[in-house]
């Protein structure tokens, strides 16, 4: 079963839940994500290409309602 998250180069990346048949297809998707400021990586698994992304959030806004119990 594919891991939802992967540690790649010491950083946590999350799987976008897509299966890409070719490397070119995966890279096309990665370019799309990178335009929005995401770091991207791909992993080959059982003949399919999986794309992982991450983007650090610098401004943290907590959910309304304050600290949960």
């Amino acid at each position: 079963m594919t891991n939802t998250s992967e540690k790649i180069g010491g950083k946590k990346f999350m799987w976008d839940k897509g299966y890409y048949s070719t490397e070119a297809e995966a890279k096309e998707k990665m370019d799309e994500y990178e335009k929005d400021g995401f770091e991207t990586r791909f992993v080959k698994e059982e003949g399919k290409f999986l794309v992982y992304t991450r983007r650090i959030v610098t401004e943290i806004v907590l959910e309304e309602g304050g600290q949960p119990l």
Partner: protein
């Protein structure tokens, strides 16, 4: 050049110097004249000025040392000679006969009840309490029996009662008793020597003037400590020899150049009030000598506790009625039910003998503080032989710890070329592979702890009950679980994949039980400790039936939790072998120089144009150190520079140095703060205090890690403080501080990698929605909020920095979605434990 160090004296200073050197890759031979280690710290109840329990603090450190494969502890032994020179000493040690082979003795205590010689006064308790002629010297390691040759009738008369074979020999199953044991000489080859022989109360004739030895119920401070101690002859209840609990106790602190005497009286008086809030407690003193702010704070706190402090030039003492003591002072009189004398301190007998044997000079009190040519307090009149702790001059435990670290840094610098060369590799681990789906096969080992547990529980009932619990395949009763014999041998059969130890507190014994578990071949995280001693027998010592019922409940909780445990692997973090020292103060210079001499890379950052401010102190040793820095290729000095932004964690910090010519980035594994109190870190270029999560107190000094054994540590791993960053101090102390910090740093950056516990936070990505409630409460700032793409949407989660997460569990408690847990402490484990209680009979 040898890679081993001889340390003489196993009190707090000797033990700490040992631990520091082991951590830096040196082998250690620790020689102690008494049969057990710990020194005076093992005899006292609480330590000033933090009021921490001495036993709770020192026992875990003792157990760590005794289980290190590169540590040789030679207890009940004396150093006969030290020949040779710095880097290559030949040491002869004479081991005194115990009449019990320590390699065979299992500490089962079967020999004690059969020994017909009783009422032997206990030396460890200064004659109070009684043992048999075969006994344990103290409750501390090494826990091996010994025979008192002056009391044992078989040794004295060649027979024990009318029996040809002494009953102790018949009772000893491992055949450990050896009546013809003779002193044995051992030889060691070491590169450096550290003297940590401590101090003693001066029990001279002058004490008789105050009734000591003349009238009843007059004790010295150290004798009184044994009455305060929970492991003492009265179990921590203050009693006179006539069993009466005194309602009025007085102290008299004899004239003493050191603050240790007065502070000891304050700590003991507070301990007395803690036990009996209605007691009348008075301290007579000539001088306080409160040289530290925290000593002054401790004294003020004592005053608030209704302790009377009476300054007087002298008191006179007369025998009162019913064993009381009549005290006269300044035309006043006072009646106490007990008087505690605090005499001045002097070097102990063994220090004097040792100095003579190895030709070292002493001062007028017999301490190794004779001024050497270079005026360095750690140096002795012989190169390669260093001194620390109260063997140098009387001091409190925290000051002794700093000096021990400094002495270790001197030895490490001297033997730098031999670091790691004599180390023994730990034994290969043959760990049983255990998968989560494997059926639990549980081994339960229940410790008698002498009589500490067995004396207060119905052991048969606890054992039979534990046998009936699910998945329990075998229950073993052992005299002392901490010796690891039963645990290792049973686990080596590979019949068990879970271990439950019914013994004492994980706080003191977890690391030791981890070690025994892995030596037996089981992953350490498949082991569960049930604290029968503290939670049952100590707190319910007067109700055996209820204590037994509670023990059964706790065993049930432990066994059920153990079935859910999973194997975990340690985390390895690579280390950058370099250090940043912030501040060209005498402490910063001393730290940088010792690290450079130890062959480790150092960057020293100073805001002034040169180190002239440090030179302004006109201290010969500081000038010599600055010359040493200039010549040391391992030290790079940045002047007119500031520290900018700092990122990273222990072993891997990235630091920006802001120079007049621009910025430079360096990588270091550790950081030392040696800046004066008035030098704030904040600037336009960054704020290292904020980056490193440092805090200051109301006097603007940096707040360090809690605990008397951690004076140089911050809560941020890999970051240390010394000298003016810590408190006001003179130049000699500032130098010792800096050198001590060098030892702490070397323990990090002399390693290729750090091994970290896997009990850290884990994010359950399926449940975490990035609400970020865990981020701000995390004391280590180990979380980063990240966004990611999933099925066409932007989602959020958190990332844990494994290197800095400490597994405190604050995130787990904060998360409203069960989206994070700490390995080994999963919520379902706790649920199972609670269900074990709720569903009990």
């Amino acid at each position: 050049m040898k890679g081993s160090v001889l340390i003489i004296g196993a009190g707090p200073a000797g033990m700490r110097a040992s631990a520091e050197l082991l951590d830096q890759g040196f082998k250690v031979i620790l020689v102690e004249e008494k049969p057990t280690i710990g020194g005076k710290m093992a005899q006292i109840d609480k330590m000033f000025p933090s009021n921490e329990c001495s036993t709770c603090t020192i026992l875990p450190r003792m157990l760590e040392l005794t289980s290190d494969p590169n540590m040789t502890i030679v207890a009940f032994a004396e150093v006969k000679s030290i020949d040779g020179k710095a880097g290559d000493f030949k040491v002869k040690v004479v081991k005194n006969p115990r009449y019990v082979d320590p390699m065979k003795c299992t500490a089962c205590t079967d020999c004690f009840p059969v020994c017909p010689v009783g009422e032997v006064p206990m030396e460890f308790n200064f004659g109070r309490g009684a043992s048999k002629a075969i006994y344990f010297y103290s409750p501390f390691p090494p826990r091996k029996a010994l025979i008192d040759p002056e009391k044992c009738t078989y040794i004295l008369e060649g027979k024990c009662g009318d029996k040809e074979i002494p009953p102790c020999v018949e009772a000893c199953k491992p055949e450990a008793i050896v009546f013809d044991q003779k002193p044995v000489e051992a030889e060691f080859n070491v590169g450096a020597v550290i003297l940590a022989t401590g101090m003693d109360e001066m029990k001279t004739k002058s004490l008789e003037t105050f009734g000591y030895g003349q009238f009843p119920n007059i004790l010295t401070a150290l004798e009184y400590e044994r009455l305060l101690s929970g492991l003492g002859p009265t179990g921590g209840v203050i009693k006179r020899d006539d069993k009466k609990e005194p309602q009025s106790v007085a102290w008299y602190v004899l004239s003493n150049p050191s603050p240790v005497g007065f502070m000891t009286a304050v700590a003991e008086a507070m301990g007395t009030i803690e036990r009996n809030p209605h007691a009348s407690v008075s301290v007579f003193y000539e001088d306080m000598n409160l040289v530290r702010d925290d000593y002054d704070d401790f004294y003020k706190k004592a005053k608030e506790s209704k302790i009377n402090f009476i300054k007087t030039d002298c008191i006179s003492v007369a025998e009162g009625k019913e064993g009381n003591v009549d005290i006269s002072y300044d035309k006043e009189s006072f009646n106490a039910e007990m008087l505690v004398l605090v005499p001045p301190y002097a070097a102990n007998e063994s220090t004097l003998k040792l100095a003579e044997k190895i030709g070292l000079e002493l001062d007028e009190w017999g301490f190794f503080s004779k001024k050497t040519e270079d005026f360095h307090p750690i140096h002795t009149s012989k190169e390669g032989i260093f001194v620390c702790g109260s063997a140098q001059e009387p001091k409190g435990v925290d000051d002794a710890i700093v000096q021990a670290c400094s002495a270790a840094s001197h030895a490490a610098a001297l033997l730098a070329s031999s670091r790691g060369k004599e180390l023994v590799a730990p034994p290969e681990k043959d760990i049983l592979p255990v998968k989560p789906e494997d059926e639990p096969e549980t081994l339960a080992v229940i410790c008698r702890c002498g009589i500490n547990i067995a004396g207060f529980l119905d052991m048969e009932e606890v054992i039979e009950y534990t046998k009936s619990l699910p998945h329990v395949k075998h229950v073993e009763l052992t005299p002392f679980g901490c010796d690891g014999v039963a645990i290792r041998e049973l686990l080596k059969t590979k019949k068990f994949n879970r271990l439950v130890i019914g013994a004492c507190s994980p706080k003191t014994h977890e690391d030791l039980f981890f070690l025994h578990t892995e030596m037996g071949g089981l992953n350490r995280y498949l082991m569960e400790i049930v604290n029968l001693r503290n939670h049952c027998t100590w707190v319910h010592s007067t109700d055996k039936q209820k204590a037994t019922e509670k023990a059964k409940t706790l065993m049930r909780m432990g066994v059920n939790r153990a079935t859910m445990l999973e194997s975990l692997e340690d985390i390895h973090v690579l280390v950058t072998p370099a250090c940043l020292v912030i501040g060209g103060t005498p402490s910063g210079i001393a730290c940088a120089l010792k690290l450079g001499q130890a062959g480790l890379d150092v960057y020293l950052v100073e805001k002034e144009s040169d180190l002239s401010k440090a030179k302004e102190n006109k201290n010969r040793f500081v000038e010599k150190m600055i010359d040493g820095l200039d010549k040391n290729e391992k030290v790079k000095i940045y002047t007119e520079a500031r520290v900018g932004k700092i990122e990273g964690f222990v072993g891997n910090f990235k630091v920006e140095i802001v120079k007049p010519t621009g910025k430079e980035n360096i990588d270091v594994g550790s950081i030392v703060v040696a800046t004066p109190v008035d030098m704030r870190a904040e600037s336009d270029n960054g704020d290292f205090e904020k980056d490193l999560l440092l805090q200051r107190d109301d006097k603007n000094f940096f707040v360090g890690m809690l605990g008397i054994l951690n004076p140089l540590d911050f809560n941020t791993d890999g970051v240390y403080k010394c000298g003016p960053a810590r408190k006001v101090m003179g130049i000699p102390d500032a130098i010792i501080d800096g050198e001590g910090t060098a030892s702490r740093v070397a323990g990090v950056i002399s390693k290729k990698e750090l091994v970290k516990s896997p009990t850290i936070s884990f994010v359950v990505d399926e449940k975490c929605d990035g609400c970020a409630y865990c981020i701000e409460p995390c004391p280590a700032q180990a979380f980063t909020l990240i966004e990611y793409m999933q099925e066409g949407s932007v989602k959020k989660t958190v990332e844990v920095n494994e290197a800095i997460c400490r597994g405190c569990g604050v995130c787990m408690a904060t998360c409203p979605k069960e989206g994070i847990f700490v390995w080994h402490f999963k919520p379902e484990y706790f649920k199972e434990m609670i269900n074990s209680v709720a569903g009990s009979e």
